[in-house]
């Protein structure tokens, strides 16, 4: 079956691809610009030339009769081809991901390159020419920025900044070291006669060395994430490769300038200028990124009313930071990197949770999409006769030198760093870091943008770069995972998100800073603390909304997140056991839910279940729903600690919650709005709901205590009007209702009216409470344990974390203690909850 599916997909891919090839051929035939035909920009140039002689265009040719439909290929040609290529590349990814046995051996990037080979072969077969290739302009302006932005935005912030020193050392010194040594060593070999007769000077070799020093993290990071290597190694490789791209480009530009200047004109002054330019360009770019980060953060303070496009602002401004840096000839990559890293925290706090999720996903889609395209096109580029100037000595020596010098650089720099690190980087980690020096698209992009006039051997360099890329990505990529496993690289400790952990971390930080103060020395914590202080006082004031400021504390964020998780578990539990439909239609469904649970738990704690049927525990479902959507920290505060998985969790939790819990309230609302997701309720009304809920709950509880069965009304009782008028509420739910929630109104009503007794089984009455509390909880600032302590006599298996589960004798909640018969049951409950706990 799987094979069939795979085959069908492959077939589809080929069909689409051949169409695009055919259309391309059409184009080639008609316009006769074959060679430099590429993804976007050259195609645009193309169109201007080709529309002139094309007949399908608009209005240029006189018509004799009214056409019904006409073939207008040239109208849509460029965007059509672009879209087709994107589709093709993404389908390649789909095919590559189909078989997990393959992807577990060969990294995805390697597979994509191989796919590119195949596609390139087809193009070659059709056109006998390199029709499509990745040209540097497209790469640097349309494909790279989103990858960098995504990487920097998803960067684990705290980890990054606490290791910033090491990362910078590796990225700056390491890159310069690689560029210099590779260039000089190659030049030495060339002088020694290892490469035959080439027209390359020392400067060109240095330029080549510079472009070869860009490390591409994609394949390595994929392996790291799969194997869960320890976070220090992870951040070192990740951060280094990100910053290293920026440094490489800067270095490349400096050497490029030297090459243009020509050998004889270079003197000490020019070299000093070059060094100064290196620092100005890199630090200027980084600074510009920070400026843009500040701008973005400030902008998100005021975008509350345009939530729909909120996420778009970040992408556009991020891109602008890239372009601005490019315009000022500063380092664009560094600019967008620091922009993403710095604004992350503040925009996450400022924006609505939905926008944050949207942003993350949009960035992921864009980044993954262009990454896929880049790798496919890297493979595709192999099919070009022009670039294949084979020089065995040059190619082999390049591969040898980049590996050797990478290792030397990494070991030396780590040795330096270890002298002052609290936790030294151990040898296996260092080895993996060295081995992780894969070369990728940036190197190719830089090589492709070499100027043939200045560097006569451009094609040799380009070809060598491609070979190095293939060699490292495919070969080293494949061996990376076995190596990591074989060396037993320290794995990341699987740390659950716990309040205890978070809180104690904070205590530890305070303790450490205090100890440093007592010792009277400025340690690492001194900086952290002073930055935190400064940030609290000024930065947050400037960049965060006042709401976000109030709730930015990470401990609170963890609390919120844990509650969300519980809510999700609860929903899952509910779905596996029954349905959560009781929230919408609580007359029956809740009973079902409970019954099913009762069946399941009957053997574990029969007594409780008996008791359960006797007593009205009222709101046993409510606490959880109130936990679920504690609205105050509507922004998840420390998302940077989320990995993708928990992000997914959050999202699905939201999804589930949206689906299952709030439909009832939305029922009477227009479900679609162009500019708003959802309107929020009037707080006064919610207050009203809250009060009434509490009252009705109290009443049902009272009646339970006194042994009076509160009634359930199915028809609208005339008395209802009188119960509601004191509250100043419109009586008829069918009229324009403040909450647009008829069910809810009805339920409050049925719970509070207790005249008609004993018609229905008691258990049913808990359901109205559930229905009622739901919207209320939505607006309550009070955390769950306040509202719901001890109301869960038992819980579904997964819910052991739930805050309301405080059933001890010291519980302050009066409910649990109120009835003597409840006391009888208390030990049972304890054992029961223990049981579920295990």
């Amino acid at each position: 079956m799987a094979f069939l599916q795979q085959f069908a997909l492959l077939l589809a891919l080929l069909i689409i691809f051949s169409t695009s090839c055919k259309t391309a051929m059409l184009e080639v035939d008609s316009a006769e610009v074959g060679l430099n035909y590429s993804l976007k920009s050259s195609a645009t140039e193309n169109i201007s030339t080709s529309t002139n002689d094309s007949t399908g265009g608009h209005g240029s040719s006189t018509i004799t009769t009214l056409p019904i439909v006409i073939w207008k290929w040239h109208h849509v040609e460029t965007p059509y081809l672009v879209a087709l290529w994107i589709l093709t590349c993404w389908l390649c990814k789909l095919v590559a991901e189909l078989n997990h046995n393959i992807t577990s051996v060969i990294p995805e990037s390697g597979l994509l390159i191989m796919m590119g080979f195949i596609l390139g072969g087809i193009v070659w077969g059709a056109d006998k020419a390199q029709t499509f290739k990745l040209i540097p302009v497209n790469f640097f302006y349309y494909l790279l920025p989103q990858i960098v932005l995504d990487a920097s935005y998803c960067m684990p912030n705290k980890l990054f900044f606490s290791n910033l020193g090491a990362i910078l050392v590796h990225a700056v010194i390491g890159t310069c070291w690689n560029a210099g040594t590779v260039g000089i060593a190659l030049w030495g070999c060339y002088e020694g006669g290892a490469m035959g007769n080439l027209n390359i000077g020392l400067l060109q070799f240095l330029l080549f060395g510079a472009l070869m020093s860009a490390v591409d993290p994609v394949a390595v990071i994929a392996v790291f994430e799969e194997v869960h290597v320890n976070e220090v190694l992870y951040i070192l490789v990740f951060g280094e490769s990100l910053l290293n791209d920026g440094v490489t480009v800067v270095l490349y530009n400096v050497f490029d300038a030297f090459v243009s200047l020509g050998g004889p004109k270079i003197n000490a002054a020019e070299i000093i200028k070059g060094i100064i330019s290196f620092f100005v360009v890199s630090f200027g770019g980084s600074f510009l990124g920070v400026v843009f980060a500040v701008l973005i953060s400030m902008l998100t303070r005021v975008t509350k009313n345009v939530q729909v496009i909120e996420a778009g602002f970040i992408i556009v401004l991020g891109y602008l930071s890239y372009l601005t840096a490019e315009m000022l000839s500063l380092s664009a990559i560094l600019s967008i990197t620091f922009c993403g890293v710095c604004c992350q925290k503040y925009i996450t706090a400022n924006m609505d949770e939905k926008s944050v999720t949207t942003l993350r996903y949009v960035l992921k889609v864009m980044a993954n999409g262009s990454e896929t395209m880049i790798f496919v096109f890297l493979g595709l580029s192999a099919i070009d006769q022009n670039i294949w100037v084979w020089n065995t000595g040059f190619i082999l020596l390049t591969i040898l030198f980049i590996v050797i010098f990478r290792f030397m650089g990494v070991f030396f720099l780590n040795w330096l760093l270890n002298q002052s690190r609290l936790i030294p980087i151990d040898l296996t980690d260092q080895f993996v870091m060295g081995y992780g020096g894969l070369r990728g698209a940036v190197a190719y992009g830089l090589a492709a943008s070499l100027d043939e006039k200045k560097i006569p051997e451009k094609n040799l360099m380009l070809g060598t770069t491609l070979i190095v890329v293939y060699f490292t990505v495919i070969l080293q990529g494949i061996t990376m995972k076995p190596l990591v496993q074989w060396l037993k690289v320290k794995k990341a400790t699987q740390s659950d998100l716990t309040l205890n952990g978070k809180m104690n971390n904070r205590v530890f930080e305070h303790v450490l800073t205090a100890m440093e103060d007592i010792c009277g020395r400025m340690g690492d914590n001194w900086w952290t603390r002073h930055w935190n202080y400064f940030e609290d006082k000024y930065v947050c004031w400037l960049l965060m909304t006042s709401d976000a400021r109030k709730h930015k504390d990470p401990i609170f964020g963890v609390f919120h997140k844990l509650n969300l998780e519980d809510a999700k578990k609860y929903v899952n539990e509910g779905e596996s056991k029954g349905s959560l439909a009781f929230i919408r239609n609580y007359d029956n469904a809740s009973v079902d839910f409970k019954k099913q649970l009762a069946l399941e738990y009957a053997d574990i704690m029969p007594d409780i279940m008996n008791d359960m049927s006797e007593y009205d525990f009222g709101i046993d479902n409510v606490p959880v729903t109130s936990v679920m959507k504690n609205p105050l920290p509507s922004v998840s505060l420390n998302v940077h600690e989320l990995d993708r998985k928990s992000m997914l969790n959050d999202l699905s939790a939201h999804h589930l919650l949206d689906q299952h819990l709030y439909k009832s309230r939305r029922d009477n609302r227009p479900t679609y709005s162009r500019s708003h997701y959802n309107t929020s309720e009037n707080p006064d009304e919610m207050q009203e709901i809250f009060q009434r809920t509490m009252r009705s709950r109290l009443e049902s509880f009272k009646s339970a205590k006194m042994g009076v069965n509160p009634a359930k009304k199915l028809s609208k009782h005339p008395k209802k009007d009188s119960t509601h008028k004191p509250n100043g509420k419109p009586a008829d739910p069918h009229r324009t209702h403040p909450y647009g929630d008829e069910d809810f109104e009805f339920s409050a009503d049925s719970a509070s009216s207790s005249e008609i007794a004993g018609h229905f089984p008691r258990r049913n009455t808990n359901a109205p409470g559930a229905g009622v509390d739901n919207p209320t909880a939505n607006n309550m600032a009070v955390a769950p344990s306040q509202t719901a302590q001890g109301r869960l006599p038992w819980t579904p298996t997964n819910l052991r974390h739930l805050a309301p589960l405080r059933m001890s004798t010291r519980s302050t909640d009066s409910f649990a203690m109120a009835d003597a018969s409840v006391d009888d049951e208390a030990p049972e409950e304890k054992s029961g909850s223990h049981h579920t706990r295990l």
Partner: protein, 205 residues
Amino acid sequence: MGSTNSTLLKIPNVEVLMQETGLKLVAEENCLNVSPAHIIRLHDRFKALDKEGRGHLCPHDFGAIKELAMNPIGDRIIGAFFSPGKETVDFHTFVKILAHFRPVDKDRPKEPNSPEPINSRSNKLKFAFQLYDQDKDGKISRDELLQVLRAMLGMQVTDEQLESIADRTIQEADLDRDDTISFEEFRKSLEKINIDHKMSIRFLR
């Protein structure tokens, strides 16, 4: 090493101290940084804090460190230096407390006769635990937890939220359901956290 020796004379029981804490007295030549001996440096600091030259420190001596006043749990940390009932701390205890924060060293040979180094994981944890446990009953009660939380979170959250956070924290760690966190539970709840990293100061290495 003449100056070192003269300083040594002023510090009582230096050898015992070194053995107990593992802190270095004399600078070891390790490759790049030649750090001055820890104990001598700490002794200087001790003397600087002890403005009146009594040879011991009082709580108000610590209170004079102005950065410490900014620390939300500063007073608890100061309190940790003073064993119950005592109003002063001498140099010996001072160093021993600070030695909790020495990074754990793997390469240093472990002496079989010394049972547990002062900077071991559980000793570090004990230090943290007693910061919560102010009434020294071996348990962190809800109130004690609330106090710490309030100090650290400050005005950012309401009392209700604070209480629910405290409740949940206790519930997370509380295994025997007595609504308090004992040291054993405390240790278990932090099992996955690398205490050696989080409770170590680099310059005490």
